[in-house]
Symmetry: C4
């Protein structure tokens, strides 16, 4: 790749580097991660590239210039800033998702406590609160048990979430992966996933849950996707 | 509406804009909300208006000038600051409460975890600690299951809280709404509602609760409403 | 009382005003209190007086000059700074303790969640962790159910803690009161009381607790009272 | 010891004083300690010395110069900075570990809530989440019940962890001790120990745990020790 190509890539990813780097602070703010765990990535608009956290670097040391630029096979683009660093050890899973789900613009992975607790039982989170109907449109599903080293985590995410309303999957004995239209949206899904995992856990510890009727879930999900928030053009 | 009318409204709401905007930081301070969830509103003294949070705006971006001014049917007052924004998606419920409960000066809604957990079981919180007797005068009741889109949430709040000592209601499968003599008082009720929801949940996980005798509840509630705090005139 | 008397009192309490005011921030730091709940007091060395938090004032607004000076019957000393304010609604209980336990130099009251949860079941906290043996020398006892309005809370604290190793008592359906050789020591007891209440609650949720042998408890308590920390003279 | 010897020691420990002092803020950041509890130590490279927190000093008052330098019998080195202070009351246990485990460069002790809760039941934490397989290579074991005053705590740590994959041991009815190749690594183990103690506790409260197959645990542990993070030479 020529210096010119690299310069063009850097121009294309400049804003996303900042955004992905900044979004990691949401993970620490909501206590979704400890130590160097967890990672956020974002797809580079119009290119077969994504930007992801480096591996094993402390949250305090993250900065736009140490985010790593990868192609959709998870290979680091040589010559780009941060390319001397290894990307997140979950890079293969992120890459697999971007390769197979073109509508996805952001991916997040954490080991947040309550979501990981459901994952340790391989149990989906039932939809018993309206915030969950709004955000996930029903239960949060469990993905297969898969370990790092090949495409099995990525494949498990894609197989579970394709055609599913939920933007979150609890990978068995592991933790949540979330997707979104962009990195910010995937981070929101990670935050909400832990929040509903906690609320529904606490609720069930106290006794029998009351289900929400399916038509109410459908109606809430539909409204939230289409009506909630500020009119799109002004945002 | 003339420019003169708008100016008069802005003068009437200036202090309340600041207060309602600031009070949202109590919701984040006590971890009652995540992401853009939750909302506070306050009635404009002497006018059929209230001030409420805009929809889907992040807590860090809230400011007096983006609070939205609505009439008691929940319509945004055109020309006022913030009127280019959609008000909170719970505006209809707030408006209904102001329309039907003239003594209410503030309304708060959150999905705080422990209160939402009781709501997911549609179970009232029993009054087993004196702080709850002080603040709520007995159990915190559950309101009906109602979804956004018409007046059913507002009606459920009003029907449940009218004539009730409690300033908090757990809307079924949804979360708490609280009312108060002003917005600050409703925020205090939201904070205390989550606190007692958590304490009583934890207490019951450990075994049998011991009830407080009704006459002690009555006596505590009476004292707290009438004696607690600084003498009224000096505050 | 002459202006001269007042000036002498203010001189005697100046340092304690600062200390008691500052110590309240430990209660918020460790999340032992919400809203305006909780209070710290300290006995004025060499005088039948103590300094206590004003009633219903927010933690952000506490300052040395709004701490209230009371005699050991709980009467505010007229003319002292802060005397235009009502003292904490728990002043009578603090005063009763100072009157009947001359060795006590500080009293703290909170509604901290886990301690209040044990109190709602009127169940003592068993001593199953060494930190609890160190600090409390055995279980944390439960006091009687008593409501505000007369000396019954103070009497319950004194009757329960007199001759007891524990510096904390869980007043039934209410919450913990702690005592100490000074206000700082009582605050430490309040912090540790909630910490062990939480740890032992969590431990028991998971299954059977293993008791610590009594002679080990005795030995730990003895060492902690006499050996722990820096040599006394240099501190 | 001559002034020259002392100066040489101070030069050798200067960086480690700063590091050990700073690392204590990780314990408070992750809420692993309250009040003056908990302690971190680090071995001085190339010397039979270690640096440890002073006893009973508040976390806000820790600084490089009040860290205490000890030999491997736990004796304070006279004349060094901080030598007028008593070292942590757990110094004998740290010293025992350094004496008997030459590969250990850092030791941490806390009473963190969830880990202490497993310890109060004397129950090992089962390995049901991949983060635990990565970090600890299997279950976190329980050590014997031992109280302060002789070498029994140190001996319990060494006997339990020698030849074990886990860098954490839950001392019965007491709390976790963790070891690492240096102080930073031992702090990471303390943070992760509490995190997995919490996640697995929550998971089991909700129902049956699904175990991770042993060969997957082995594979994850091997990868994490050898592949994770940045290439060694560049760090």
């Amino acid at each position: 790749m020529t210096d010119h190509d690299i310069a063009a890539i850097e121009e294309a990813v400049a804003e996303l580097r900042q955004q992905v780097s900044d979004l990691h602070s949401e993970l620490t703010h909501y206590n979704l991660v400890v130590s160097t765990g967890g990672n956020v990535s974002g797809r580079v608009p119009g290119r077969d590239l994504f930007v992801i956290k480096p591996s094993g670097v402390s949250y305090d040391d993250l900065a736009p210039d140490n985010m790593v630029v990868c192609d959709l096979d998870g290979n680091v683009i040589p010559g780009t800033k941060g390319s001397q660093r290894a990307p997140s050890s979950d890079t293969a899973a992120h890459a697999y998702v971007y390769r197979h789900m073109p509508e996805v613009g952001g991916v997040v992975h954490t080991h947040s406590d309550y979501a990981a607790a459901w994952a340790a039982r391989r149990e989906p989170i039932p939809c018993v609160i309206t915030a969950m109907a709004d955000e996930f449109g029903g239960p949060i599903p469990v993905g297969p048990f898969a370990i790092i080293g090949d495409d099995s985590i990525g494949r498990g995410i894609v197989e579970t979430l394709t055609g599913h309303r939920s933007r979150a999957v609890l990978m068995a004995n592991h933790g949540p992966f979330t997707i979104g239209k962009d990195a910010k949206d995937a981070v929101k899904a990670a935050v909400m996933c832990e929040d509903v995992a906690r609320t529904v856990h606490i609720a069930r510890q106290g006794g029998e849950l009351v289900p929400i009727p399916q038509e109410a879930i459908d109606s809430l999900f539909d409204r939230y996707q289409n009506v909630y928030g500020q009119p799109k053009k002004e945002q």
